[in-house]
C-alpha cells in the first residue's frame, strides 16, 4: 500500500566496523565490551532544560539515543480551551520563552484570522515586525551563546548575552517585561512605542553590526569550532523534509524556504519585495551540506538579516493608531484556521477553532522544537558522545516548547 521509506539513515552500524564521523575506521580490538546506557538529563548542562536523552554508548561512541520529553509539560493546549481568548495570551509567552514576541504574534494572527472585519493599523504591523525581528535576534543570540557553551567556549555566551540584554532592555521599555512580553495582542499591539524608543532601536542596529563581526570571528570561523561541528549530524534535504523540519534546521540543509518570504504574513511580503533581506542557507562550506555548522551558520547569518528588516521598518514607520477596534471581551466568530509563522526555531503554528464563544474550542500549538527534536533519534547513532551534545545544541530546542 505504502512505499517504503525513501531515505536511508545516514549511518549504518554493523559489528565489523563502526564508522566514525570523519570517515575514519575504528580498530576493533579483541576485547569484549558491553554497551553502557547513560541518562543524559533531565538535569544535564547540554539538554537546554529538563529533557532526558537515553544514550546507549560503546565507549565514547553513541550507538543509540532516545529522547524522553514531558518534564516541562504545562498543559498549554488544555488551558487554551478553558480561558478566554485574550487571557490565553500570557500563556503563549511561556512555551517558547526565548521568543515570546513571536509566540504572541502567532497566536494573535491566528485569532485575527477568525475575526472577520478586524483591521490592524499599519503602525501596529510595523511595530510588530520590529519586535518580532528583535526577538529573533535575541533568540538567535541565545542559540549562538549556548551552542558555544555546548562546544566548550564560554566567552561567546557572555558576549551574546550582552547584546541580548540590550534587546531585553528595549522590550522592557516598550512593554514592561523582559521575557514574557504579552505585548503583541489581538488587534495590534498594546502600547505605542515610548518616545525615543525607535531611535534607540536604530542605535542598537548600528552597534550590533560591529559586534556581529566579532561573534563571527570568535566562534563561527574558529578552527576548533569548525572541526567540532562540520560533518557532524548531517541532515540531508530529503531527510529534513521527511521529518517536517522547519526554520534554520531546514535551511541549514540547503532548502530555500522561509515563511517570511514565501508565504508572507504582516508586512513581510512588502519587505521581501523591496529586497530588504535575504534568506541565508547552508551551503556545506566547511563540510557536508546540512551539518551542525551549516545550521549554526544559518542562525548567525539570520541575525544580520533581521537587523536589515528592522531598519526597513524603522524607515517606513509613521505615527498612527496601534490597536484595532477590539472589544474588551473578545468574542470570536465560529470557525477554524491554522496560521504558521516563522519563529526563530521554525514554523510556529497555531490552529485555533472557535464555536463562537468567549472560549476557544481547540487551541493547538505546533511547536517547531517538538518536531525538530524528532530527528535526534536518527541523527545520534554513530556519533561520539561529544558530537551528540553538538547535535542537540544545533537543533536549538527550547524545552518549554517541546513539552508546551
Amino acid at each position: 500500500m505504502v512505499e517504503a521509506q525513501k531515505y536511508k539513515p545516514s549511518m549504518q552500524l554493523s559489528d565489523e566496523s563502526r564508522v566514525l564521523p570523519s570517515g575514519e575506521r575504528e580498530f576493533m580490538l579483541d576485547v569484549s565490551t558491553a554497551d553502557l546506557e547513560v541518562n543524559m538529563g533531565p538535569q544535564h548542562p547540554a539538554t537546554h532544560g529538563v529533557m532526558r536523552v537515553l544514550l546507549r554508548t560503546d565507549g565514547e561512541l553513541v550507538t543509540g539515543a532516545q529522547p524522553h520529553l514531558g518534564y516541562l509539560h504545562r498543559c498549554a493546549e488544555k488551558i487554551g480551551e478553558n480561558v478566554e481568548w485574550l487571557q490565553y495570551l500570557p500563556y503563549t509567552d511561556r512555551y517558547d520563552y526565548l521568543s515570546a514576541m513571536n509566540n504572541n504574534l502567532g497566536y494573535s494572527l491566528a485569532v485575527e484570522g477568525l475575526m472577520t472585519g478586524l483591521e490592524i493599523p499599519r503602525r501596529a504591523t510595523l511595530i510588530r515586525t520590529i519586535c518580532a525581528e528583535l526577538n529573533r535576534v535575541a533568540s538567535h543570540l541565545i542559540a549562538y551563546g549556548t551552542y558555544g557553551l555546548d562546544i566548550g567556549a564560554f566567552t561567546p555566551f557572555f558576549y551574546a548575552f550582552r547584546e541580548r540584554e540590550w534587546i531585553q532592555a528595549l522590550f522592557e521599555k516598550i512593554c514592561g517585561a523582559r521575557l514574557t512580553y504579552s505585548y503583541i495582542r489581538i488587534g495590534g499591539v498594546f502600547n505605542d512605542t515610548p518616545p525615543g524608543w525607535l531611535q534607540e532601536v536604530g542605535h542598537f542596529c548600528d552597534v550590533f553590526e560591529d559586534k556581529w563581526r566579532e561573534y563571527y570571528d570568535l566562534l563561527v570561523e574558529n578552527h576548533i569550532f569548525v572541526k567540532r561541528t562540520a560533518d557532524i549530524g548531517v541532515i540531508s534535504a530529503e531527510m529534513a523534509l521527511d521529518f517536517g523540519l522547519t526554520g534554520p534546521m531546514l535551511r541549514g540543509s540547503g532548502v530555500d524556504f522561509d515563511l517570511r518570504r514565501d508565504m508572507p504574513y504582516m508586512a513581510y511580503g512588502e519587505i521581501s519585495d523591496a529586497g530588504a533581506f535575504d534568506i541565508p542557507l547552508g551551503r556545506g562550506e566547511k563540510g557536508t551540506l546540512g551539518d551542525c555548522w551549516d545550521r549554526f551558520y544559518v542562525r548567525v547569518a539570520e541575525m544580520m538579516e533581521s537587523i536589515k528588516i528592522v531598519r526597513w521598518c524603522l524607515d517606513a514607520i509613521e505615527p498612527g493608531p496601534v490597536l484595532g477596534d477590539v472589544p474588551k471581551v473578545i468574542k470570536v466568530p465560529a470557525g477554524e484556521g491554522y496560521v504558521g509563522i516563522e519563529n526563530p526555531r521554525g514554523e510556529l503554528g497555531h490552529y485555533v477553532a472557535s464555536s463562537g464563544g468567549k472560549v476557544a474550542l481547540r487551541c493547538r500549538v505546533r511547536g517547531p522544537s517538538f518536531t525538530n527534536l524528532a530527528v535526534l533519534e536518527d541523527l545520534m547513532p554513530g556519533t561520539l558522545l561529544a558530537d551528540s551534545v553538538a547535535i542537540i545544541g544545533s537543533t536549538d530546542i527550547v524545552v518549554g516548547e517541546t513539552d508546551r
Binding site: L20, G152, A153, F158, R228, L384, V389
Partner: protein, 366 residues
C-alpha cells in the same frame, strides 16, 4: 657542593649539641614540606582569584568584588573556608577507600613534582641533575589519582572523564617530552638550575628561545601539550561540563573537590615555570643581570629575591596565558585530541628535535 639548603639553614642557627642529627633532618624535611605546601596554596589561591578576574573581565563583567574589599581579593579564602565547612559526602555506591585516597594522590604527586622546582639560584628544595624527569614523571602521576577518582565514584560520567584523562595524558606525554628535548639540547642540561645558568649571558637575555631556531615552534608544541597535561581548556575533556556534567569531579564535593582544584592550579603554575625555565631564561632577565652586576654574586640575598620574583612573574604570565586561551577557545573532541597528539604534535615535535640537533651540530663545528 652538598645540596641541602634547609639543613644548612638549620645549622647556621646553631642548634645545641644534644639535638640528634636525625631530628635536624626531620625538621629540615618538615620545613621543606611546610614551605612547599604554603607556596602551592598561595599560588593556587592567587591563581583562582586571577582566573575569576581574568574570565570576568574577558566576559565584560567584574568577577568577585566584595569579599576582602579591594576587587574581592579574599574571595578564594572565603570559598576555601566554605569548602572546608561543607558536609563530607561519599556516594553510597562509591568505592570508599579509593574515593578518599584519590584526591590525596593527585595532590601529593603535584607536591612531589614541585620539589624539583628551584626558587632561586641559592634556594631550592633539592638540586637534581634530572629535575625535569622528576617533574614530568611525578606530574603525570596525577592521572592515576584521576582515574581512581573516576572509577571509585561509581558514576558513568566520572568513568568517562577518567578514561578520557588517561587517554589524553598518555597521548600528550610524548610531544611534551619531545618538545622539551629541543631546549634541553640547546642548553645541554636536564637540571633546572643549570638550565637557568646556561641562559645567563648578555643582559640576562640569552634565553633558549633565542639560541636555536627550533625552540620557538617547540615551545608552541610544549605549550599545547602542557595544556592537555593540566586538563585546561581547550583540553578540559575529563571534566567537560557540557558533555560529562563534571567528569571525574561529578561526585566530589567539599574539601576533596578543592584538592582537585588545587592540583589543577598548581599544575598550571608548574608547567608555566617549566616553560619559563627551559624556554624563557629561568631566573634570567635584564633585572637579574643588573642585580648580579651590582652585587657581584648569585647568592647575594637581593639577587636571590630578584630571581625568585622573576620566576614567579614568568610563571604567572604563563598561567595568565593559559587562562586567556581557556576563555577564548572551544573544547576539542576526544578523537581530535588523539589526532592532534599523535598526528600533529608528535611529528612536528620530532621535526623540531631534528632541526635543533642539526643546528647544534653545525654550531659545534665552529
Amino acid at each position: 657542593m652538598e645540596q641541602r639548603p634547609f639543613l644548612d639553614f638549620l645549622e647556621t642557627l646553631g642548634p645545641p649539641a644534644w639535638v640528634p642529627e636525625w631530628a635536624l633532618w626531620l625538621t629540615a624535611a618538615g620545613l621543606g614540606v611546610g614551605l612547599i605546601t604554603t607556596i602551592i596554596s598561595l599560588i593556587a589561591l592567587f591563581s583562582i582569584w586571577l582566573e575569576r578576574k581574568v574570565s570576568g573581565h574577558i566576559q565584560c563583567r567584574y568577577g568577585p568584588m566584595y569579599a576582602g574589599g579591594w576587587h574581592g581579593w579574599a574571595q578564594t579564602i572565603a570559598d576555601g573556608v566554605k569548602l572546608m565547612m561543607k558536609e563530607d559526602m561519599i556516594p553510597t555506591g562509591a568505592d570508599k577507600p579509593l574515593f578518599v585516597i584519590a584526591p590525596a594522590i593527585v595532590l601529593s604527586s603535584i607536591f612531589g613534582a614541585m620539589v624539583a622546582l628551584p626558587l632561586s639560584y641559592g634556594f631550592y628544595f633539592a638540586q637534581m641533575d634530572l629535575g625535569i624527569f622528576m617533574i614530568l614523571a611525578l606530574g603525570s602521576t596525577t592521572t592515576i589519582g584521576v582515574v581512581m577518582a573516576g572509577w571509585a565514584s561509581n558514576s558513568k560520567w566520572s568513568l568517562y572523564g577518567a578514561m578520557r584523562e588517561a587517554a589524553q595524558v598518555v597521548a600528550y606525554e610524548i610531544p611534551l617530552g619531545l618538545a622539551l628535548l629541543v631546549p634541553l639540547m640547546a642548553l645541554g642540561t636536564f637540571s633546572l638550575l643549570d638550565a637557568s645558568h646556561a641562559q645567563a649571558g648578555f643582559f640576562g637575555m640569552n634565553w633558549a628561545i633565542f639560541q636555536n631556531p627550533a625552540v620557538l615552534p617547540a615551545f608552541v608544541i610544549f605549550w599545547v601539550a602542557a595544556l592537555a597535561e593540566t586538563k585546561r581548556a581547550p583540553f578540559d575533556l575529563p571534566e567537560a561540563e557540557s558533555e560529562l556534567v563534571a567528569g571525574f569531579l561529578t561526585e566530589y564535593s567539599g574539601i576533596r573537590w578543592s584538592f582537585f582544584f588545587l592540583e589543577e592550579y598548581a599544575a598550571m603554575f608548574l608547567m608555566s615555570v617549566v616553560a619559563a625555565v627551559f624556554f624563557f631564561g629561568g631566573f634570567e632577565s635584564p633585572l637579574t643581570w643588573a642585580a648580579r652586576e651590582a652585587f657581584g654574586s648569585n647568592t647575594h640575598i637581593v639577587v636571590q629575591l630578584v630571581c625568585f620574583g622573576t620566576i614567579v612573574i614568568k610563571g604567572f604570565i604563563g598561567v595568565f596565558l593559559m587562562m586567556w586561551l581557556r576563555w577564548t577557545l572551544p573544547r576539542i573532541r576526544i578523537d581530535q585530541v588523539m589526532t592532534m597528539g599523535y598526528k600533529y604534535l608528535t611529528p612536528l615535535a620530532l621535526a623540531c628535535v631534528l632541526v635543533a640537533a642539526i643546528w647544534e651540530a653545525i654550531l659545534s663545528l665552529f
